[in-house]
Amino acid sequence: MAVAKTSKTAANVPQSQEELISGSEAVAQALRLADVDVISAYPIRPYDTVMQYVSKLIADGRLDCEFIVAESEHSQFEIVKHACSVGARAFCGSSGVGWMYAMECLAVTPSLRLPYLAICGNRALDDPGAFGTEHNDAMCVRDLGWMLYWVETAQEALDMTLIGYRAAEDQRLSLPCALCLDGAFLTHSAQIVSVPPQDLVNSYLPRFDLGDRVLHPDNPISIAPQANEDWLMEIRKQMDAAMRRAPEVIREAHGEFHRAFGRQGGSPFIEEYMTDDAETVLVGMGTMASPVRVMVRKLRAQGEKVGFVRVKWFRPFGTDEIRTSLQRFKAVGVVDRDFSLGAADMGGVLYNDVRATMYDAQRRPVISGFIAGLGGREIEEKDVLEMFRRTQQAGADGRGGEVTWIGVRE
């Protein structure tokens, strides 16, 4: 149960308002609307922009919450974990090496089934010191029971913060959720965002209730005692069972959101663009969607049957949706903004997940892999064109399995 507070905003904002805000600011606005109780912070670019907007909301009297500046990311994530265990709706986030420094806390949170929301402002892992976007930081928790969503726009950042809380806090899941925002491209770019009224959000997002797992003197429990070989596998199985339920809960959360706000309809897991009669599609996550769509339109104008499939929820992976979608195409190119050195065919993480998904499809497309946009390097139109050409060629040859680094200087 979240601590009861009076909202200072509901009365004077009856309608949705349009604001020009960045992805980070959109998250901050959503936190205000979600009436978050505890936020922990430690500066690291690009996550620090969220901190900045949250502090401003608090200073302006628009958000009433505990804002705790920790001395490190490790403490930052411990703080929200514990806050969550006493029933507070909590928020936290980091980027790159900061996210990695919090790894111990990130790893234990799913087994404790504490559903706070975090953002990972994707950033390349040092060394060398770098700021640009790369998905490897968030990818590090992909096996651990975190739900992961790759956001494309500022509007989506706001919407997904609300949807994320609703899904994560659902008693059937009770799993932590991280929204992944491409550093700079999304965190630092202002877009027109529709900010919904408080009443509407209140009707969509129920109060956080941990039930009989809330740590309180009236409910004496012990969380996370040592567990040996006799117990751990059952605990992992419980987490697995929750993740297996996640697609259904996510569909519900998106469906309800669509009914209430008129956005985020369609599949929560993928978004298809110009795929109806497509023969060749690229698949990718996050902000790379823009340059890809631009090139899709240009190629379409020349009569080429190309399209794009954006993967949105990455954990749980939209296995059914992706399988059903991609088996319609002749050739598929998967674009990874991450690397998984030494993996099967030296491919990226998304590439190999997609290939595993398609292995049991009725029809298997020819699948090529691309590593692109690492360290925040721009994925330019010419890069997208090259990826389409290679994917088409692989389709024509009937031979997939090749992974190419795109846009790297020879």
Partner: protein
């Protein structure tokens, strides 16, 4: 064509090196006989913490394939020899989490051997040891539990004496010749006993009082082993001989029945604070005995006990829940009244009954009749013992 297994049950940390030396020496010596083996520790039985019962094993086989067959299991299911390095553990051992209590002789094969380092007789130990439905043998190596530290080894020749006893009483594991050869090869055979670091007189006096012969300074390891070989005897234990003891067992729930989020119930105010499935008592070597007559009801024991063992009573004194006591001795330390709480050797006791109830009935809290001798008798009797009736 056969394989043999030896289990060493020891006190975590304090006897880890001793247990390791035993199993490794056995495997190496057996190798001299042309056998092949492995030495392994299985802390799954307990994470290795101070005093918690833990195990190490030596598995020895005639061939690689046979060895592999034995190793495909997490730990041997049956042993030729089980060695217990602290006689307090004869009451059974409980691991750190939810397994229940395992009798000390649980793995001993029919006709197999249980060796205990103890200053007591087999008969006295059998008042604590669970009965088995099969015959086996028990042997004593007369020695007080040899306790070291994580990095400190108490080189009091307990290792040599146990090895000698194994060679004599279970030669199928390894023979004396191979052990001697192995000691020579490692340059240990002629190593003389250097005296106890605590000072010989102080270290040996209580052991001597209880019947353990001191090792003369200068006696070599080889001599200690050979002497133990000559002296070793065993006593057959008939099926059914022993006690019912504490046989705490329980069903482990499936994942659907377990609470999610690694949540377990904590003691609720006014409700029995002990966790049903982990009693902890086998981790202790001593238990606190409270002299309720001199207790001034200051609450300090109740406040400081890490396991919430002290239970308020109408009289204002605190009963002790022995099932949950880990034997840390904190209560003895904080009690302001001289010798009001005294830590007494666990093997003096055969039950876990409420001392408060006994006190109310006018019964003695300790019956120092289990053969511990002067050292234990003195401590136990101090203000706590009415008589010396043997309740075994």
């Amino acid at each position: 064509m056969a394989s043999t297994a030896v289990e060493v049950i020891y006190r975590g940390i304090f006897q880890k090196t001793l247990a390791g030396t035993l199993v490794k020496t056995l495997v190496l010596a057996a190798h001299r006989e042309g056998k092949i083996g492995t030495a392994m520790s299985r802390y799954g039985d307990s994470p290795e913490r101070n005093g918690i019962p833990a195990k190490q094993f030596a598995v020895i086989a005639d061939s690689q394939d046979e060895l592999e067959e034995s190793l495909a299991k997490y730990e041997p299911k049956a042993t030729d020899v089980s060695i217990c390095l602290d006689d307090n553990m004869c009451k059974g051992i409980e691991s750190w989490s939810w397994y229940g209590v395992q009798p000390i002789n649980a793995l001993v094969k029919p006709g197999g051997l249980l060796i205990v380092t103890s200053l007591r007789t087999p008969d006295l130990l059998l008042r604590h040891i669970h009965w088995r439905d099969q015959p086996y043998r028990i042997a004593i190596v007369k020695a007080e539990a040899s306790l070291g530290g994580l990095w400190v080894y108490r080189d009091d020749h307990t290792d040599m004496r146990l090895l000698g006893a194994v060679a004599r009483l279970a030669p199928q594991v390894v023979g004396l010749d191979a052990l001697v050869q192995s000691l020579h090869e490692k340059g240990l055979a002629d190593q003389p006993y250097a005296g106890d670091t605590e000072g010989d007189a102080r270290a040996w006096a209580p052991r001597q009082a209880a019947g353990q012969q001191p090792i003369p300074v200068g006696q070599t390891k080889l001599e200690s082993m050979q002497q133990a070989y000559e002296a070793a005897t065993d006593r057959p234990v008939a099926p059914g001989e022993g006690v019912e003891g504490n046989r705490l067992t329980f069903e482990k729930p499936g994942w659907k029945d377990m609470r999610i989020g690694v949540v377990v119930d904590a003691p609720k105010p006014g409700v029995d604070a002990s966790i049903e499935v982990f009693k902890k008592w086998s981790t202790r070597t001593k238990r606190p005995v409270v002299n309720f007559d001199t207790c001034i009801e200051c609450d300090l024991c109740w406040l400081h006990c890490p396991d919430e063992c002290f239970v308020p009573t109408p009289e204002g004194v605190y009963d002790v829940k022995y099932e949950s006591c880990c034997g840390c001795g904190v209560c003895e330390e904080v009690c302001p009244v001289d010798r009001c709480i005294v830590m007494v050797d666990e093997i003096e006791f055969t039950d876990l009954e409420s001392p408060y109830q006994k006190w109310k009935r006018g019964e003695p809290l300790v019956a120092p009749a289990s053969g511990g001798g002067a050292k234990y008798g003195a401590a136990a009797a101090d203000g706590n013992t009415g008589n010396a009736e043997d309740r075994g």
